[in-house]
């Protein structure tokens, strides 16, 4: 079992015809993901390695039955692409694009409040349900199917930690890269809720980083509504205030958003918090017994 992406996924790729779009889409298809269409305005009627290209997402939904979209379009057009997918009735939009203006995302956020569409990202590595479907750029080689759910703001920390889990023989149900932007789609809380309800998941890992209060809010949620064990890791204890550490959202503002405060909130909620990425796999193994 898995969450968000799986055997029912019928993927349309917005920005399929670009270099990155083509490269990752073909990798996703090779992994077994049902890629049913691409969308590039003006290129309708063409195909990429047999994947039909449409001018609009609405066409891809009508003609190919697409229910999930992956977005690779450049930052200045990406917010529009999310809106188009939601408007076409796509249930899950996974936006890989990095560098979208945050005002555009605030408008997307506003529009999505009135829709059933779920957004993952932007500025994220995507979602993989090992052995079933991969939508995004997470390297499937490091994953294996199993019963640990994973949600993370950072992509490379997912790869690192999943790799160590896999080496210990611990597989994953689904890994969700929620992205490193300040205004984003689903986060820790929504992912943990889906994992909590997923019969194929026994334990959840969440990895956070400095900036914002996603981790603190997740801690409150875990304390109140999560019964399955949760292991966490927070990066950025050494990050000085006021400096953006790579991700647009990774910044300590005044006294807000420090790694120490996040780790403390999670521990107070009963979450086991690892001190290093490698310790995550150890804590997971202990918790699973």
């Amino acid at each position: 079992m898995s969450i968000l992406v799986g055997a029912d996924t019928r993927l349309v790729v917005q920005g399929l015809t670009g270099k990155e779009g083509t490269f990752h889409t073909l990798r996703n298809r090779a992994y077994g993901t049902a890629v049913v269409a691409g969308v590039t305005p003006g290129k309708g009627g063409q195909d990429v390695e047999g994947i039909p290209v449409h001018d609009t997402v609405a066409d891809a939904v009508r003609e190919r039955g697409a229910n999930t979209s992956m977005i690779f379009v450049p930052p200045r057009f990406a917010a529009e692409a999310i809106l188009e997918a939601a408007d076409a009735g796509i249930g899950l939009v996974i936006c890989i694009t990095e560098g979208i203006p945050v005002k555009d995302m605030a408008h997307v956020h506003s529009y999505l409040r009135g829709c059933d569409t779920l957004l993952v990202g932007p500025n994220c590595p995507g979602v993989i349900s090992p052995g079933v479907a991969n939508v995004g750029i997470i390297p499937p080689e490091v994953c294996r199917p199993g019963r640990v759910g994973f949600v993370s703001r950072s992509g490379t920390l997912v790869y690192q930690i999943v790799h160590e889990l896999t080496q210990r023989g611990i597989g994953q149900s689904t890994c969700v890269g929620m992205g490193g932007d300040p205004v984003h789609g689903i986060g820790f809380i929504e992912s943990l809720a889906l994992f909590e309800a997923d019969p194929g998941t026994d334990l959840m890992i969440m990895t956070g980083e400095i900036g914002g209060d996603d981790e603190e809010r997740a801690a409150d949620y875990v304390a109140q509504d999560v019964n399955k064990p949760v292991v966490a890791y927070i990066a950025g204890f050494e990050a000085p205030p006021g400096k953006r550490m790579g991700h647009a959202g990774a910044i300590v503002t005044g006294s807000q958003g420090t790694a120490a405060a996040k780790a403390e909130a999670l521990e107070a909620a009963g979450v086991r918090v690892a001190r290093t990425p490698s310790q995550v796999a150890e804590l997971v193994q202990d918790a699973l017994g």
Partner: protein
């Protein structure tokens, strides 16, 4: 991108938000001339991308051009909270009746905008929100719905009657700034009521979204005013995410999260990172060479820790990239290299076979951090 006060006020004037008359000066003589122009008295303010100027002696009232020259010369000579001062702003003195506070910022936890106002000027706003939240009016503004009349009435309702209309006009224009110029923060502290009834922005703190600069060439051009470290400039040119820190272990890694984590692991091993550097996805020889140059240009660096997790990037190519970079860059300090993930074994073999005298291979992140710490702390690696 945090703007200088005078740059923020330039945006204010374009938006027709009233500000005091002001002149930028880069020397004592210029400050004296500006003060003469402003009627013989002025307020001289350091222009830096950091707050707390008033308490830190960065804002001074002067009653003569000579005093303006003295104060400006003093400010321009020194660092202000670690920021180099190259400009001061001289502004006319206005007859202030009352001081207030207002701001609009993008609220990341709710995905909308948060507008705030209080009749208590000159306060630390975080402190006020904590101790007397009832004194601070807050409204959340949906980005698509925009700032509505009822929002504005709620905000300005905490002000004296005679200030409300002027403040309402300003707060509407502040919201327009967030939408038209991609401002993620617009703060006026203090917003003042003058004795003639006008409401004026005495200060301006404006942050513009870096991701949106592609559509604001005029604002992008304001960067030219900021003193920039040449190393930082070189990193930026190459698209590397580089942040200078104050330790002595240089860090190169791929992915923001992994690099942040690397800084933490180095600290746990008893050393401090000299920098944050995210080499990005590819980690090609070119990127690796530039990264090494950037990191090694910091004289404090006594060892470099290269931490790569190969996902789509293959570690054998990264290993070749490191060796090729070492052909181009003359590294005087050891490089502890940790490769993991896709083709890690092949990558490690390449490094082992090359047996470069400066390369210290390590199997795990923890081991690599220990080795780097041992080197900088003068123990055997």
């Amino acid at each position: 991108m945090d703007l200088y006060e005078h740059q923020g006020k330039e945006l204010f004037r374009a938006q027709q938000i009233a500000t005091p008359r002001g002149i930028v000066a880069t020397s004592g003589d210029e400050a004296a001339a500006a003060t003469r122009e402003l009627g013989g008295k002025s307020v001289v303010k350091v222009q830096v991308q950091v707050g707390g100027r008033g308490k830190g002696g960065g804002v001074v009232l002067v009653d003569s051009p000579e005093r303006a020259a003295e104060e400006a010369a003093r400010m321009l000579g020194v660092d202000f909270k670690g920021h180099q001062v190259t400009q001061v702003l001289c502004e006319e003195l206005l007859p202030i009746a009352q001081e207030f506070y207002t701001s609009i910022l993008l609220d990341r936890s709710t995905g909308d905008y948060l507008a705030m106002m209080t009749a208590e000027g000159g306060m630390d706003i975080e402190e006020l929100a904590r101790t007397r939240p009832e004194a601070l009016r807050r409204v959340h503004v949906d980005a698509m719905l925009g700032l509505r009349a009822f929002h504005v009435r709620e905000l300005t309702g905490c002000l004296p009657l005679e200030a409300r209309e002027g403040a309402a006009d300003i707060v509407r224009r502040m919201f327009a700034l967030t939408q038209e110029q991609d401002a993620t923060l617009v703060e006026i502290n203090p917003l003042v009521l003058l004795s003639d009834g006008r409401v004026v922005a005495l200060d301006a703190k404006v942050t513009i979204d870096d991701n949106a600069l592609f559509r604001h060439e005029d604002i992008e051009a304001m960067k030219a005013a900021f003193p920039i470290d040449p190393v930082q400039a070189r990193a930026n040119e190459q698209g590397l995410q580089y942040v200078k820190l104050d330790g002595n272990v240089g860090i190169i890694g791929n992915g923001a999260g992994l690099v942040m984590s690397t800084l933490d692991v180095v600290a746990q091993a008893g050393a401090r990172a000299a920098n944050f550097l995210d080499v990005g996805g590819g980690a090609s020889a070119d990127q690796m060479a530039t990264s090494l140059e950037v990191v090694l240009s910091d004289p404090a660096v006594k060892a470099v820790f290269i931490n790569i997790f190969g996902g789509i990037t293959r570690c054998d190519l990264v290993a070749e990239g490191v060796l090729a970079a070492l052909d181009r860059v003359d590294a005087q300090v050891p490089l502890v290299v940790r490769l993991d993930g896709t083709n890690a074994e092949a990558g490690r073999r390449i490094l082992a076979e090359a047996a470069h005298p400066k390369v210290v291979p390590a199997a795990t992140m923890g081991e690599a951090a220990e080795r780097a710490a041992a080197i900088v702390n003068g123990e055997a690696a």
